[in-house]
Symmetry: C2
Subunit: 403 residues, 2 copies
């Protein structure tokens, strides 16, 4: 009799199934194996989570399905604890003599990976001070690009992945509820963002702490979060990295964002809100924005192309003379990365499949008035779409008191 | 008469001087120009700050010194506001038809960049769902690697850069002071981290808000921060991404981290602390750790090699039979990236120069007892080293009450 515990993570049998699909691709490509450097890919196939630095890491699988991790000494015990890999090879430190890439070359040789080899890149990327030779030089292999296959595989989510995204939605929704509750004229975005995010994170940890791991391979998202996208009223066009610590004022148009990382999986919730009753102009753009989002939602169905959705949205823009306010396409996939392909873009001909999880977020950007954008996270079903986010979308629900 | 305002940012004349140095390299390499995709490089040469996504962006400079930015529609006004560039070329959206890389190819052609071309990569990296052709294919240019030159240029900081790093130190120090003050047995790391970071950020904004911009091209660091590195007592070996929301207990060995982003520039402050009086074993490893850090600090001087510093540290490790507790080298450069080369590593033969800013952080990792690491940020001077961080290092200052 086995007792299976509840887990908020991808189980190893699913990692194995993902590797099996990759192995079929290795065989179909008549390759000796595959080498991956991308932290999200390595997490996807093994569950091994790390924040990429100048110390190179890699996952390799040979044509027999034997799997190995290549890590610095610092990550050795962590890698050895991973149930998916039969082999861990490590180097002491970066840089070192010999260069770590030759330690990886030795591991590949020992695994029988040589000649025709799939990889996501020809060597570890030069990030955070890393410098090194191409993999094709260090290991004398012939590299063929594996990214397109992997991205296609990652785009269709399993039931377990959708459950994690739903869990992310729940805590993003809490954070957003608190953000809306605490936002008032006279307060700064920094204090409101911090208060909502911290309270939501603490509630989340009190609710699911024993089974929760953020496990995000990126820096920065370590709990529930809700905040402003630097698109407050007068500054709607200023990217967030350059935004000031703005003070809310009556009359502001606000664009929010909320999410939580759950075992690395993300969702996206964004709302347009007003401080005080919206002006006629604010209401007009808000209504168009909701109609644009409804247009996109109505166009999402399995068998359609991504481009069809964006073309429907653009037709609405053009019909209502809104193209001067257009800035971007209608949405993107989301999962372990906060943006993923395919994109709801007129240039993307990918056919929609059940299990693909998209953000739906056509936006209008009006100089001097603000940005207008809701973003909801949805999954393509067998016959349409299921909205995973459920935060109110109506203008009455999103209008804050003026004082 | 001109009135020059105080600014917490790099001024355009410094960006121009950086570009001039790059232009000399273009000339020395007999290249037609240079193309950069890396967000930190683009910020370094132009001040243009953005968070990289699937929408490709690039900076280009031809052999005459004419500069251009290549951006999506979404970033057009932002790019046009940049004083460093004479030309902005944009595409509507990613993906699109034609693929944006051909829009970049047109801009390069118009700038006379063709044939032998320096670049940091042969095309935009495949991040967040981006897929695209190599630059060498799309623009029919012959790519030569520019990264080594750029990394060497970025490694030596100017007085203005050191001022920004000092400003970062100041607010990291405040956050760390609050972190230490609020850490108590029975509280969780999440609540203490949030409280210290938020209060420090708010104080920072009250003090320098009108001239402050985080302007970090990475996600996540948007103010002052202090927290724990997942290296609390019993869990010293677990990477942070997988750490639980731990509750502090008497007897814990703690390793902290504090920083702030100031116009993108970072510093690093880490301390080993104890909850309750340290045991003999804790004290022994703490004392060795401080001695190791002193060894590294004493070995830093212009004209020496990075390797010399790490070799001195390793000699101490070996002399005192501490190699079982060794996990990583002695430090790294820091600036716009939280890790940069060169590294205080026995494999790095770079000669230390005045203006290089390093973290100094040899560490000991003892199973069941904890991690022992201080990290200080220092700058190489004309005859030695200046410590930019000034947080107390002594065990008496870093021992918290047990209850």
């Amino acid at each position: 009799m086995t007792i299976k515990t509840t887990q908020l993570r991808i189980r190893d049998e699913e990692h194995r199934a993902r590797c099996d699909a990759l192995l079929e691709h290795v065989e179909a490509a008549s390759a000796s194996g595959v080498v991956l450097f991308d932290a999200d890919y390595i997490k996807y196939y093994t569950g091994f989570t790390f924040i990429p630095t100048e110390r190179p890491m890699a996952f390799a699988m040979n044509a027999k399905g034997e799997r190995g991790l290549f890590v610095p000494r610092l990550e050795l015990e962590h890698a050895q604890a991973n149930a998916l890999v039969e082999r861990v090879s490590h180097y002491l430190e970066y840089p070192d003599d010999p260069h770590p890439m030759f330690v990886l070359a030795d591991m590949l040789k020992a695994m029988g990976i040589g000649g025709r080899t799939l990889a996501d890149a020809d060597g570890y990327p030069w990030i955070l001070g890393y410098r090194g030779p191409a993999l094709s030089e260090a290991a004398k292999v012939d590299i063929h690009q594996a990214r397109a296959f992997i991205e296609d595989q990652m785009a269709v989510k399993s039931p377990a992945e959708i459950e994690l995204i739903k869990e992310s939605v729940r805590w993003g929704n809490l954070a957003h509820t608190l953000l809306q509750r605490y936002t008032r004229a006279g307060l700064t975005e920094t204090e409101v963002t911090a208060r909502a995010s911290n309270e939501a994170t603490r509630a989340m940890l009190d609710a699911i702490g024993p089974i929760y791991r953020a496990a995000s391979s990126g820096l920065g998202i370590g709990g529930a979060f809700a905040g402003y996208r630097g698109q407050i009223g007068r500054n709607a066009a200023i990217p967030h990295a350059l935004a000031n610590n703005l003070t809310f004022q009556a009359g502001d148009t606000l664009v929010t964002g909320a999410a939580a990382a759950v075992w690395g999986y993300l969702s996206e919730l964004e709302r347009t809100m007003f401080i005080g009753p919206p002006s006629g102009e604010q209401r007009r753009f808000f209504d168009h924005m909701v109609a644009l989002q409804d247009t996109a939602l109505g166009a999402l169905a399995p068998g359609k192309r991504c481009a069809d959705v964006d073309l429907a949205v653009r037709a609405y823009f053009e019909k209502h003379d809104l193209m001067p306010y257009w800035k971007h396409h209608s949405g993107h996939c989301i999962g372990l990365r906060y943006h993923e392909g395919p994109f709801l873009d007129k240039g993307d001909t990918t056919v929609l499949k059940p299990g693909m999880v998209f953000t739906v977020e056509p936006g209008l950007y009006v100089p001097g008035v603000g940005g207008f954008r809701h973003s909801d996270t949805v999954v393509i079903t067998g016959d349409g779409v299921e909205m995973l986010t459920y935060y109110p979308r109506a203008i009455e629900s999103l209008t804050l008191p003026a004082d």
